[in-house]
Symmetry: C2
């Protein structure tokens, strides 16, 4: 910190979150934290941003990131641009010259966290990232400072607000394509929604949570991610009959030396807190050996909630507070789990279909738990559902491939894991 | 910390939480944290405690607290005894001689926190108390480290597990006296349950949350607390009809320079997360100006969850992490709120009762929202309910006093605040 006891912030990015951070900082009335420099492309346009009024007139607008990273009048670099490159190199350089770093960059922390934490430790500065997972929900500091004393065996959550918005709207009757288009118009979803709906965003967040909660380093690329785009209205109707709804769940749990990790749409019992998230809400549930289940929930995204997380990290640095960082181990990801499954088929109806499907499942020693077929669907395009008793996901995949090749199958079968609520837990 | 980089812990109290802490520490496998001394009365009995096996054989058992507080081989004093005196003096002395302190003592932190924080700051040591509110739920570090950047305007919660166990059991059909007796047999409730059921315990916790979240110092003695012991089975039936359940809610919110604070049984809409806590679960909901509502929930009490909070605080100290501590202001408590109310009367039925009650309410300009009277009750002892539109609690109290004096009234009327779920919030 500078001699004057003012913590000087250099901001990388003055978009939604960056400008919200300026507003939250101004509202705090704190005179010991000051934004001195802002890097952004197209500085002239940003100068006239409606939230630029929250900045001090002396702030310097800069079009080269180096002009912030290496500036003598910057103590903390706040990075709100995202992506691995060139941002990763910038932050590494900033840490090396002794700047603290606060970032909302989930991909960077997921893929290169360990390396950057080491650089920070060597330079005796802080690298904080409370905004990288679940935005305004303090799950990162909550787990780091508050659950370090437990042995967490599982972490599950809803960490992508866009998917939760889409799925909870579908639960209320909306159509996938329609609600995605609405979300895009409202700015909740990108023009290319793949990072959200295909689980790439959630996967990075799950890896960060896995490092912190399970103290295991896993590679995001190894985590299986299933798209939500195959989930249809009929699945919500069948899920309801099973006492469930459907959510994009990110989940990892210890399994010997490995970590079972997965992101994808799952059937969630309506009695589980995970089913309670609506709209763009986020929720994370940890399961501790000694403390049991702990739930964190709130607004995961949006400029203001994310800016609260950024501001809280900056305040922690201003206070000289260092984050608790426990040792982690590298772990391999096991995509295989043993779980009950929901299988939905769309078939051209003909005699013998149930027998054929049941035959394949029997051959793979997968027990059927229930068969559901609602009235009122056309027999040329008939959706029906089989739920299974717990079985190996690897074995199930073989069975699915076999069933998918059957001539009456009009679409690839949809297989969704069914979350089980443990007796003594809320998750 | 000692030169050997081992953090040496002196434990005050080897009861349920203290012995659970020993177990959690042993399970962590950390060799850099060591319990060197334990103070407890009746040391001989404690030495043979089943969890004494988790201690190092070299641990010293001591019957004088000074033998821990001032010992050269203690870096952190962990206090798990409770109460204001003599513990307050012991911890003050420990801080003064440069020991860090970790405590689960809610009364001490509520009543004497500011003074003790100052002593700690002067001695450049940490005073951490994550276990003082909501045990295993990391609401203290979560709010301190993760929500410092927001302006929190309200904090509400379920912070007394015993009351939640009693009320959620009553919701499921149990009788107050019966469930209290069960809770006492199971060890959830004290032989004298007053601290729990009358809100004294919750009030201390609410003051700690108010300091941290609203950054306001309030006097626990000024916070109105209403007992849950007047709530009867019939109230759950009427609450259900109103789409609500009943919980002991602790709640404070900013109101100009004052803080509106209150502890007591309230009607909670079943759509509010506060209604979702069952059994001994705890839940805290903060409402932030920028970040919106954040929910923390989990196991609030019990040896192991509380020990997780203690262990997390000890780990933070071992890591050299200092807690974020934001400036607070003294604030007066205003017990007065404007809220809708649930009024339940037990009367000896006769003509004109509704008219008489309605007349008193009209005289005080309190609008009736609904009148509920279930069939099947005896007319000599008839319970019925009036709900009001939002009104001043002070005005309501006058009306209640007037109605309570009416000759047909067999019991003092029961008035419960009805929590309102805001449009855009979860709380």
């Amino acid at each position: 910190m500078s001699e004057s006891s003012v913590l000087r912030v250099g901001l990388l990015g003055f978009g939604t979150v960056g400008s919200s951070f300026a507003e939250v900082l101004a509202a705090s009335g704190r005179e010991d934290i000051l934004i001195t420099r802002i890097f952004n492309r197209g500085v002239e346009r940003k100068r006239s941003h409606e939230r630029a009024k929250f900045l001090q007139p002396e702030v310097q607008w800069i079009e080269q990131a180096e002009g912030v990273i290496e500036a003598a009048d910057v103590d903390v670099v706040v990075e709100l641009i995202g992506g691995l490159d060139p941002v990763g190199g910038w932050l590494r350089a900033a840490l090396k010259v002794g700047k603290h770093v606060v970032t909302a960059n989930k991909q960077l922390i997921a893929y290169r966290g360990p390396e950057l934490f080491d650089v920070a430790a060597k330079a005796n500065v802080q690298l904080l990232y409370g905004a990288a997972v679940a935005g305004g929900v303090p799950v990162i500091p909550g787990v780091a400072q508050g659950l370090g004393g437990d042995e967490i065996t599982r972490v599950s959550g809803i960490v992508n607000g866009t998917c939760n918005f889409i799925l909870s709207s579908m639960e209320a009757g909306a159509d996938y394509g329609e609600v995605l288009a609405n979300a895009q118009r409202a700015g909740y979803a990108e023009a290319n929604p793949s990072a959200d709906v295909d689980g790439v965003d959630a996967r990075a967040k799950l890896c960060i949570l896995t490092r912190l909660a399970l103290r295991a380093e896993i590679n995001p690329d190894e985590v299986p991610a299933q798209t939500i785009s195959a989930v249809a209205a009929v699945d919500f109707a069948y899920a309801k009959e099973l006492g469930c709804t459907i959510r994009q769940v990110s989940r990892s749990q210890k399994h010997g030396d490995k970590v079972q990790a997965r992101v994808g749409p799952m059937l969630v019992p309506t009695t589980s807190p995970i089913a309670w998230s609506h709209g763009t809400q986020n929720m994370v549930v940890t399961k501790g050996r000694f403390g049991g289940d702990v739930v964190f929930s709130g607004h995961g995204a949006g400029g203001h909630p994310t800016a609260v997380a950024v501001m809280s990290d900056v305040l922690a640095i201003a206070q000289g507070s260092a984050a608790v960082r426990l040792p982690t181990k590298h772990a391999e990801v096991s995509g295989e789990v043993s779980a009950p499954y929901y299988l939905r088929f769309i078939v051209a109806d003909e005699p013998g279909i149930v027998a054929a499907i049941a035959g394949v499942l029997a051959k793979h020693h997968i027990n059927i738990d229930s068969i559901l077929q609602h009235r009122g669907h056309e027999s040329e395009r008939l959706p029906f559902v089989v739920t299974t008793e717990p079985c190996s996901s690897a074995v199930l995949e073989e069975a699915i491939a076999e069933m998918g090749a059957m001539p009456f199958m009009l679409e690839p079968p949809l297989a969704l894991q069914i979350l089980v609520v443990d007796d003594k837990d809320t998750d």
